[in-house]
């Protein structure tokens, strides 16, 4: 459409968004990730990285969401009391969380790590995927994961309801997308100063070791 001015004014407008206040007491970490973090990152990438404000906002959003992972086992809280967390309250992951909400954070967090060179976001979501990986064949329908999983106890095998529809679909959607995004990392990665990859042997997701 060629609405350059619209796009520029929209980018200008997002600079004033303040993530220290919120219209809700509890936010949905998954919804926030896919709408805001995903929105900032894809706008940044699709416009060729010409608007640093988009990456800045993505980073600010990432730093907010990263606090939702500050639990004893580093599993995120999916329905998150934003204000208590900001005040430094102790928090732990839920025992009944929707599988899509905990399993569909990887694309945005991985891309944020790729663009900022800060591995924390990737590390945060990879811990979740390790559990999916380890327990995939131990569920009541081996190969798939139930709609509800236990993040607090890191038990993704207890549930009896399965679907590829709502509440689970984006988990299965993200798996191949994240794989592709890691394959493409070398071409997309734009900050060579942060990753001393020349000295690094190739590591696949599946082979990287889990140590907390």
């Amino acid at each position: 459409m060629g609405l350059y001015d619209e796009f520029r004014s929209a980018v200008k407008a997002i600079e004033v968004i303040d993530f220290s206040t919120c219209a809700l007491d509890e936010i949905n970490v998954f919804e926030t990730t896919i709408r805001y973090l995903g929105g900032f990152l894809s706008a940044y990438d699709l416009s060729g990285g010409q608007y640093p404000a988009l990456l800045q906002k993505a980073g600010e959003m990432g730093d907010m969401l990263y606090v939702a992972f500050d639990t004893p086992n580093r599993m995120p809280i999916t329905r998150w009391n934003f204000k208590a967390a900001a005040a430094g309250a102790s928090q732990e992951a839920g025992e009944n969380v929707l599988v899509a909400e905990i399993g569909s954070l990887t694309l945005e967090f991985t891309r944020l790590s790729q663009l900022t060179g800060d591995p924390r976001y990737f590390d945060a979501v990879q811990r979740i995927m390790d559990i999916f990986d380890a327990q995939q064949s131990k569920t009541k329908l081996p190969g798939m994961w139930s709609v509800v999983v236990n993040a607090k106890k890191e038990d993704f095998t207890g549930g009896t309801g399965f679907t590829i529809g709502g509440m689970a679909d984006s988990l299965y959607e993200y798996l191949p997308k994240v794989r592709e995004s890691n394959i493409l990392k070398a071409r997309f990665l734009t900050r060579p100063s942060n990753i001393s990859s020349s000295a690094e042997p190739p590591i696949s997701i599946a082979n990287s070791s889990t140590t907390r």
Partner: protein, 223 residues
Amino acid sequence: MLETWFCRNGDCYLSTAAAKSRAFHAPRPFITRALYSWSTQSHTMMINSRWKILLLFSAAFILLVLLKSPYSRYSSQYSNLGSRPGSYGVFQRPHCSSTAHHDNTKFQWACVPTRYPVSRMRSLPVAGSNKIPRIQATFPKESSSERTTRLARLDAVKGNFSHAWEGYKSHAWLRDEVMPLSGRPHDPFGGWAASLVDSLGWSPLSLLGCSSTLSNITQILCG
């Protein structure tokens, strides 16, 4: 002071200015290095305005050369994705002071203390060299009537987009959503302008158009 992560053999370490300057001196072409430091407004290197002008012209020249390079269509799209350091920004994390918590300084999420820190951070997987295949359909040559139909549909999409965009701008700007009947704003996603951010994510395609030279990724998505 900027935080910088270094990753080696799957472990990542947090370093600050010293590490940053080390990374800064990694062997890279001079012009890239200078551009990088200029674009990040480095605290460690000052460049006067004459240099800035020279660099600007050099950058424009290099960009021109890159755009004209006679690579095949797809290989150039993919290989150029990460090769324009001057055009990419840097995420500036706020400086957190331990004493500033109760001062008048603005609340920053990056400064919330971590209760359960990660002791061993894992780095991103290092990419393989696999190429992704083209997934878009190859369309046959269209007849003039097909073209008329397609353009009419395109106009309908544009009309709907403009209607929604103008409605959001005039009734719910910087709010999450505009309610379609009452035209009132509605904030179900925290009130951080969800519709604006969400549509920014796909709108480079619709706002700027497929002929845009802004992004190689955009060109790939347009097929």
